[in-house]
Symmetry: C2
Subunit: 241 residues, 2 copies
Amino acid sequence: MATLLIDERPKLEAEHPCFGCAVRHVSICGVLASGELRTFRQSGTTVRHGAGATIFFEGDPADSVYTLTSGTLRLSKLLPDGRRQIAGFIFPGDFLGLTMEDEHAFTAEAITEAELCRFPRRRFDAFLDEHPHLERRLYLLAAHELAAARQQVVLLGRKTAAERVISFLLMLASRCRKEGGVADRVVLPMSRSDIADYLGLRIETVSRELSALKAARLIQMTDTHTIRLLDPEQLEALAEG
Amino acid sequence: MATLLIDERPKLEAEHPCFGCAVRHVSICGVLASGELRTFRQSGTTVRHGAGATIFFEGDPADSVYTLTSGTLRLSKLLPDGRRQIAGFIFPGDFLGLTMEDEHAFTAEAITEAELCRFPRRRFDAFLDEHPHLERRLYLLAAHELAAARQQVVLLGRKTAAERVISFLLMLASRCRKEGGVADRVVLPMSRSDIADYLGLRIETVSRELSALKAARLIQMTDTHTIRLLDPEQLEALAEG
DNA sequence: CGAGCGATTGATCGCCATCAAAGTGGGTGG
DNA sequence: CCACCCACTTTGATGGCGATCAATCGCTCG
């Protein structure tokens, strides 16, 4: 029995790359039966992007959808004069390219090296027609993103700089926890500039607030991209005023 | 032929209140065939709320969904210390209560007197199971709301007070246009306080910016709740910096 | 070792918030 | 019908938070 598993596993993966996919169960593919998955896989291709690369620009025709399998992306929009707002970060398992319009409203860029599953939109839509239960999954996905966007609206509309930075750290910590990681050790793959543009602040302000939290012994920074939450309880209280 | 129409119409409406519904074709019900509609209607009830009334509070169990048939609502959230952020306004034809959580994340209140179609969530879900094409409609709806929320994120994160107010006016004008109204005459059913809490500003700032636009001959105010856009082109340019 | 980029820290400025007061309009009761 | 009230809006004066300008630090890479 055990030997069968050991022998069979690699063969399955060779036919079905998805079986080896780290995010299969969390992504949209999770609801697919094995036979469906094969068909689905055949309509997609794997793409790799180096850090800083652009997956698509705002205004580009939205003719593909993606699942991120590794790395981190940012979704951003530029105002004509260069001001930038980041609408969200995309982590492994997240879906990308979901839109009703013909054009993408936001630019998607790789923060770290990233790997994605790319599906031509036409094929994806056709597949959707044949598998109606995928639509519920898609709806759940959209509802989830909507909740996140509205949380960001509250943050940007009414929170102070300190509250924004704390909320951001807690958000990342919560995502860490859901993925089974340790709760109080947060990795920030993005730069201060990305954080600032996500929180509607300037990099100097983000830096200052982090320094203040460090001085208050609420966080610890081993390096600039790794933060340890020393008092999650109090941070939680501070995040909401 | 004409007499038949005249005679038959009221009878149809008596059996099928939805036929007389002003928002049937734009709301989620629009995809339903007549037979389906009858079933759907039977699972819903009409509710009325006076101006200022609360439809549900954030934290209330999300056991109903609604379609707004007349009036205007606001979706808001309070921070512990009383700061309020409005995440969106709900207009006739819009869907309300759409959430994946067990509890509503936002409070829904009537700005003007409002009329809604209320559906118990269990029945709605059951109906959804039997009519899979409704799920696509629902997905489209969520995607639309997501786009609106992200637009608000950009507004709150990176726009100045003047740009926010102009963007708001243009948003309402665009909605007016879609509903076949005149493009340059905008009605604001909500108070200055509601506008401020939507735009992440204070009422004084909203008032000042409106006065400035009036002084610049870009808008006209017949009364505090009716605004005429005198130069939509230039307003459009000013809205994006 | 120096160039170059990102992050931090410091000094000052400006937009919008806050505090304050006056204007407006609609509804009520005398 | 008018006087009064109350809530909402507008306008004015001042202040503070976060932006801006500027310098330094620390790291990686050539």
